[in-house]
């Protein structure tokens, strides 16, 4: 059963073709990375998947139903979670309250109280001690983790992460990879990752989609992508046969 599917997604801004006919299929529990140079359309693609940007043409399917016209908050409640490139938190709330918002809107039958759900997620991600703190007092890495916790509190079935490793030190990246792997293992949460940290991409992703100027130029396993001539050209220019991506 396919979990998330983008079919022929095209987005045109005036004269700019931001995305051209992009396809992606994500299975439950799968990890997919979307890579490409700056401006390749990666974030726009996530915006289309989450409903923040309507596609010009093309469709988005989740769990077999067409969600192309569905509002963002409804997609979230269905199980599409997403973090942002620079982290977006509710600055007037404590850490716990931030995480509770999603637990409250995405509560399903059999779930515990939102406060307990939020606390559990914070404990799991190692932020329980900061639960009562104002988000403004946290470090950048912690703030990004709080955002991740908020998404997780909504019990997503697919997690769309926009450069989660940006600004984290290598220890924090390591921790992040481990926690994401555990999530996939235990709850078969699928992960779609936009990332420039190639070490993380190669270690974490089972499959990679490469975008350039809004078009798919390659798709395959990490090994295939590392030796794909089109990818090497896009990243390094003509004349390279191998790169340590």
């Amino acid at each position: 059963m396919k979990l998330l599917q983008a079919c022929g997604v095209t987005k045109v801004y005036g004269g700019l073709q931001a995305l051209t006919d992009v396809d992606l299929t994500v299975m439950p529990g799968e990890s997919v990375a979307v890579i490409g140079p700056n401006g390749a359309g990666k974030s726009t693609f996530l915006n289309v998947l989450t409903g923040l940007t309507p596609p010009t043409t093309g469709r988005v399917l989740f769990d077999g139903t067409d969600v192309t016209k569905l509002a963002t908050h409804k997609r979230v409640r269905l199980g599409i979670g997403r973090t942002f490139q620079h982290g977006r938190l509710f600055s007037r709330m404590s850490v716990l309250e931030n995480v509770m918002t999603a637990a409250e809107t995405c509560r399903r039958g059999g779930d515990g109280a939102p406060r307990e759900t939020a606390m559990r997620v914070l404990e799991r991600m190692g932020l329980a001690a900061q639960a009562a703190e104002a988000v403004g007092s946290l470090s950048y890495g912690q703030r990004r983790m709080v955002e991740m916790c908020r998404v997780l509190a909504g019990k997503p079935r697919v997690l769309l992460l926009d450069e989660p490793a940006a600004g984290l030190n290598s220890g924090e990246v390591e921790q992040l990879v481990e926690r994401l792997a555990a999530l996939r293992e235990e709850h078969s949460v699928a992960v779609v990752l936009i990332e420039h940290n190639m070490g993380m991409v190669m270690r974490f992703a089972e499959r990679i989609l490469v975008l350039n100027f809004g078009s798919t130029i390659a798709e395959g396993t990490p090994e295939e992508i590392q030796s794909d001539p089109a990818v090497l050209t896009a990243y390094l220019g003509e004349g390279y046969s191998h790169a340590d991506l």
């Binding site: 989450t50 923040l52 509002a71 963002t72 908050h73 979230v76 409640r77 979670g81 997403r82 942002f84 977006r88 938190l89 509710f90 600055s91 007037r92 709330m93 404590s94 716990l96 309250e97 509770m100 918002t101 999603a102 409250e104 809107t105 995405c106 939102p114 406060r115 606390m119 639960a131 009562a132 703190e133 104002a134 955002e147 908020r150 998404v151 909504g154």
Partner: protein, 317 residues
């Protein structure tokens, strides 16, 4: 556990302080306190729109006026009992605010401020010119008094006790709401609209709800105003009053129910205390607003808050 009980504590504190004052104050001060109580209810409402959901609405006085006029017209022209007219006025105002909220709230920031200001100006023009319905600038006199158990709620002292019950109830409900998931959703929609949607919050619905709730409180205030003054005219609900509500909330502390009450009481009494300044009061007022925005951006309530305001979450777990 303390914060679970605090809406009731707030209501009790309002009743206690208000009742004590109702015994000791002079008739003149009681009248001002009555106006403060009514205004405080309106400002608590404004806090839903501005303090929580971040909607810069400058048409709040129009909702106060709409309800006051509904009460006045129903009780004078059609002879309804005030007890029937008040809920009707509140319901009608809330319905109107929700209907107009859907198109209006597509606007943001300054555009919303201008559109709501326009709403207030339109309200003034209509009430000042629809002579057959509103009596134009002459207003509507002779609004009948409320009667309870056969006794008229007349005189400033008795009206104050009556008004305090409304203020206590509205304040407690507002505080409980603010700390509920719905209040959190409003704060989230203001802090970051996109992150709110991405947390499963229906931002449009939350905004309209905040707007309608603010109108509901405004309507309660308007109905009480009509029953207190018993004579209403268009200038009671001009846009200047909307801006005053905004000033009151900022002075008291935006996002805070206690702040809304403090601001409403202070800015109702202050012009009277400083009457000797004459027109220089406006200069004083401007200087005070600037000082508060610079030194107390979170309003007077921030003076009373403990240094670490973010300890509440622990106490409630």
């Amino acid at each position: 556990m303390a914060t679970r009980r605090s809406p009731l504590l707030l209501a009790a504190a309002i009743l206690a302080v208000g009742l004590a004052l109702s015994v000791v104050l002079s008739e003149y001060n009681l009248r001002l306190l009555n106006l403060s109580v009514i205004t405080a209810i309106a400002v608590i409402g404004f806090n839903f729109a501005f303090g929580l959901a971040g909607l810069i609405s400058l048409g709040h006085a129009a909702f106060v006026g709409m309800s006051a006029y509904t009460v006045a017209i129903l009780t004078t022209a059609t002879g309804w009992s005030p007890w029937a007219a008040i809920p009707m006025a509140v319901a009608g105002t809330v319905l109107f605010s929700a209907l107009i909220g859907y198109p209006l709230l597509r606007l943001k920031g300054h555009y919303l401020a201008l559109a709501t200001l326009g709403l207030n100006v339109s309200f003034f023009i209509i009430t000042a010119n629809w002579l057959s319905l509103t009596g134009g600038t002459n207003g509507i006199p002779g609004i009948p008094q409320l009667r309870l158990h056969g006794y008229f709620i007349s005189g400033e002292r008795y009206f104050l006790r009556f008004g305090l019950v409304f203020l206590a109830a509205v304040a407690a409900a507002a505080l409980a709401f603010q700390r509920s998931r719905h209040g959190r959703a409003m704060i989230a929609a203001r802090d970051d609209e996109i992150a709110a949607a991405m947390s499963g919050i229906d931002v449009t619905r939350v905004r309209v709800a905040a707007f309608a709730l603010s109108a509901a409180c405004a309507a309660v205030a308007g109905a009480l105003f009509a029953e207190h003054v018993r004579f209403i005219a268009p200038e009671d609900f001009g846009y200047v009053h909307s801006i005053t509500y905004l000033a009151m909330l900022i002075v008291g502390g935006e996002g805070s129910v206690v702040g809304a009450i403090l601001g409403a009481v202070l800015l109702t009494f202050l012009p009277e205390w400083l009457r000797f300044l004459g027109n220089a009061y406006l200069a004083f007022f401007a200087a005070m607003m600037l000082a508060i925005l610079i030194f107390l951006p979170r309003g007077l309530v921030s003076l009373f808050r403990r240094r670490a305001p973010r300890r509440i979450a622990e106490g409630r777990s």
